[in-house]
Amino acid sequence: MSAVTRTNLASVPSRPRVTARTRRQWTYGFLFLSPWIIGFFAFQLLPILFTVFLSFTDYSASSEFKLGNFNFVGLDNYRQFAIDPLALPSMGVTLKFALIGIPLGLIVPLLLAVLVNSRRLLASSLFRTLFYLPSVIPVVAGTIIFGGVMNAQSGWLNLSLQALGITDPPRWFTDPTWAGFALNLLAIWSVGNAMIILLASLQGVPTELYEAATVDGAGPITQFFYITVPMISPVIFYNITIGIILAFQFFVPALLIGGTNGDPQASLLFFPMVFYREAFVFSRMGYASVLAIVIFVVTMLATGLLFYFGQRLVYYASGETS
């Protein structure tokens, strides 16, 4: 018995010795990582924890952020969320935007990437630059420009539509039927980043796959759906994930176009806008914190569901599929 035990003990690998050199390396490693670690704790984790804390208080932003200015209200803010008449409709506005915006934000840059990747396109570098260019324009500047371009009375878009014979073109930003869709169109303007990522991915697809398919008689459309799409599916999945996260955070253009009331007639009252109003217009930080937590949870759930169901469809050339 004792012999067996001794044998077993001998087979256990000995713990690697931590030398002074290794300790020094760890110390320096952490020292150099510390800016990020400090930044993460100070500017991300701590505010998140404070948000959770504030969600149980009635803190108003008009008073100093100190003890004595917080009253604990238990779950009142969460109960308020359940009966808030704006919460559900605004989530509907966000979801509607996401349902149109996410497919558009994938298909348009994919088509552009395929276009600028084509050997038949002249001056492809120029087109890549032109398509990417709007991405470097600040979102505020871009939105204000589009506010002018899509103005129903004097905007180039409606003047062009009228020139084409459409006598009564949409009132893009003043008609609730069109306002949300107009923002979807506006969002397409800056698909350059997604296009560049997809382009890089397209260029990584081995050419021999296309050559073999051509020999087998596959046409360009078949090749696109049976070779290109599967091969770039990890990047498509990445773009969808980012698209979902950004759609739930979509806010600045809506604020600039529709103001804090989400005009016209609350059709641009996105969920983050309701949060913004509560926090920075009405100063109700406690309730605003609940809304922030809801955005966080919903985005997490949506992303989690996407990973659970969507990643099975992704093809990894290395063999790992989810």
Partner: protein, 502 residues
């Protein structure tokens, strides 16, 4: 050697942290025009509505917002008490005013040894200046003095203002020299939050070039004066506004051939106000019944809103939202476009168009049902309750409100009548070669809207948001049943009032 390496590493890390946390912002001057008054926050308790209040212009969002301007105590005596003056809730953050404010601060700092005034100017666009002040308060760095600030701006920080009367009493400052009505102007829920400083009456700005083109006489400069042989009332005013509204084919809005889809010039616009301001065109009023804590829409408001709505969508002499935000109408600053013949707004609007190149003058507002009403704003400087140097701040405050330079700087008629000639002379100089009939502005002071359109309401922030949305709805939406829309507004207001703390 090892120590040196450690120190070096720490220095690198510290510099990385500083770089990561530091922010730089490009400052490009982008003075822009106002569109709507900022929303306000909850109010603790209901009191009698003050006689008049202020709404200073806030600007449309611009791609580049000028960086905050701060001063570092230029001209201060050693050991003097620091008093921070925050500018941004109303007038005072436009690029042309900032150097004047800095010069005033330096001059004041050199003139005495007790206070050292530090300026903090945050450009007033959207809500960023409000956010900046909130951040200062929340961080325990509340400024001592905030202003110029009107009723709406103060309401956004309900309960954050110090009682100036107790400070005045402590300093033996004589408040009896002020007209009691003016002291009411500067009180919120019965608490004096500043000293009377400047008044901003409203009147009709008119573009003489457009009147000359239409060969129409200028509107009256005196209350009771006839216009073209007719009383200066709503019917005459509307008829004039329609004659001054012209489409692309040159037809005016009284013509059967007029095309409302191609208007190139509008006759009238109620610029930069919310639904309560529009209501005040017909008479003063308050949409609240304190006895029942419920919403009551004054009849004058209902009538004014319907007239306004019809003016846009039926009679077409006022622009809808698409026209308002178009390039042709200067994206919200309509009178400055040169394509609007008459605009109803306040003295502070002299900030926002070319006073010397535009051929303009001012006229009295028309009478409605025999009554003349010119809504009134009044600005002040307020001391924050969280301020750590209230007594010294009060001394600075008294210097600010009594210096005749400051009303000129901000375009407000001085609260002290003796200072007014200097104010008008300065305005005349800016407007030359135009000769403006400032007697109109002084005359309109006698017709304030009572109760004032910015008077306190329970849950003022939510209420202001509802009024803002209501005006936008009128501007944007054709075919609205106004009776139903007003009933819905009343119901929403009721809910907002009930939500207010008891």
């Amino acid at each position: 050697m090892k120590k040196i390496f450690y120190v070096l590493s720490l220095l690198i890390i510290a510099s990385m942290v500083l770089t990561a946390c530091g922010g730089g912002s490009a400052a490009t001057e982008a003075p822009a025009a106002a569109t709507e008054a900022p929303a306000a926050t909850d109010a603790p308790a209901a009191t009698e509505a003050p006689a008049a209040a202020t709404e200073a212009p806030t600007a449309v969002p611009t791609p580049t917002i000028p960086a905050p301007v701060t001063t570092g105590g230029e001209g201060c005596a050693p050991g003097s008490t620091q008093v921070t003056w925050f500018v941004g809730l109303g007038a005072g953050s436009n690029a042309d005013v900032v150097p004047l404010e800095k010069a005033w601060v330096e001059k004041y700092n050199k003139s005495q040894t007790e206070a050292c005034v530090l300026l903090n100017i945050v450009y007033n666009t959207g809500s960023n200046s409000y956010d900046a002040l909130r951040a200062l308060v929340a961080g325990g760095n509340a400024p001592e003095i905030v202003g110029p600030v009107g009723k709406a701006g103060r309401a956004s920080f309900q309960g954050a203002w110090a009682d100036v009367k107790s400070l005045a009493d402590a300093a033996s400052y004589d408040l009896t020299k002020y007209d009691p009505q003016l002291l009411d102007f500067t009180s919120d829920e019965g608490v004096l939050v500043g000293l009377p400083f400047a008044l901003f009456p409203s009147f009709i700005f008119y573009d003489k070039t457009l009147f000359d083109e239409a060969q129409l006489p200028y509107p009256p400069h005196k209350v009771g004066e006839l216009y073209d042989g007719k009383p200066w009332d709503l019917a005459t005013f509307q008829d004039l506004a329609m004659k001054l509204t012209v489409d692309a084919n040159g037809n005016d809005a009284t013509s059967a051939d007029f095309d409302p889809k191609s208007v190139t010039q509008f006759g009238f616009f109620e610029q930069w106000t919310d639904a309560r301001g529009i209501g005040a065109f017909f008479d003063g009023g308050i949409p609240y019944d304190a006895a029942t804590n419920s919403a009551v829409i004054p009849d004058s408001y209902t009538a004014a809103w319907k007239w306004y709505y019809d003016g846009i969508w039926t009679n077409h002499f006022m622009p809808n939202a698409d026209y308002q935000n178009s390039d042709q109408f200067n994206k919200g600053n309509l009178f400055a476009s040169g394509n609007v013949a008459m605009s109803w707004t306040h003295t502070w609007y002299t900030c926002c168009f070319d006073l010397s190149k535009t051929s303009w003058d001012i006229a009295v507002v028309p009478s409605i049902d025999g009554k003349t009403t010119a809504k009134l704003h009044g600005d002040t400087f307020a001391i924050m309750e969280e301020s750590k140097n209230k007594e010294v701040a009060f001394k600075v405050l008294t210097a600010m409100v009594t210096d005749p330079e400051l009303p000129i700087m901000y375009g407000g008629i001085p609260a002290v009548a003796a200072d007014r000639p200097a104010f008008f002379a300065a305005k005349d100089k800016a407007a030359a070669p135009n000769v403006i009939d400032w007697s109109v502005a002084e005359a309109m002071l006698a017709y304030p809207d009572l109760p004032n359109h910015e008077a306190w309401l329970p849950n003022l922030a939510d209420a202001n948001s509802l009024f803002g949305a209501f005006r936008t709805m009128m501007d944007q939406t054709p075919d609205v049943n106004m009776d139903e829309a007003i009933a819905k507004l009343k119901s929403d207001l009721d809910a907002a009032y009930k939500k207010a703390a008891p």
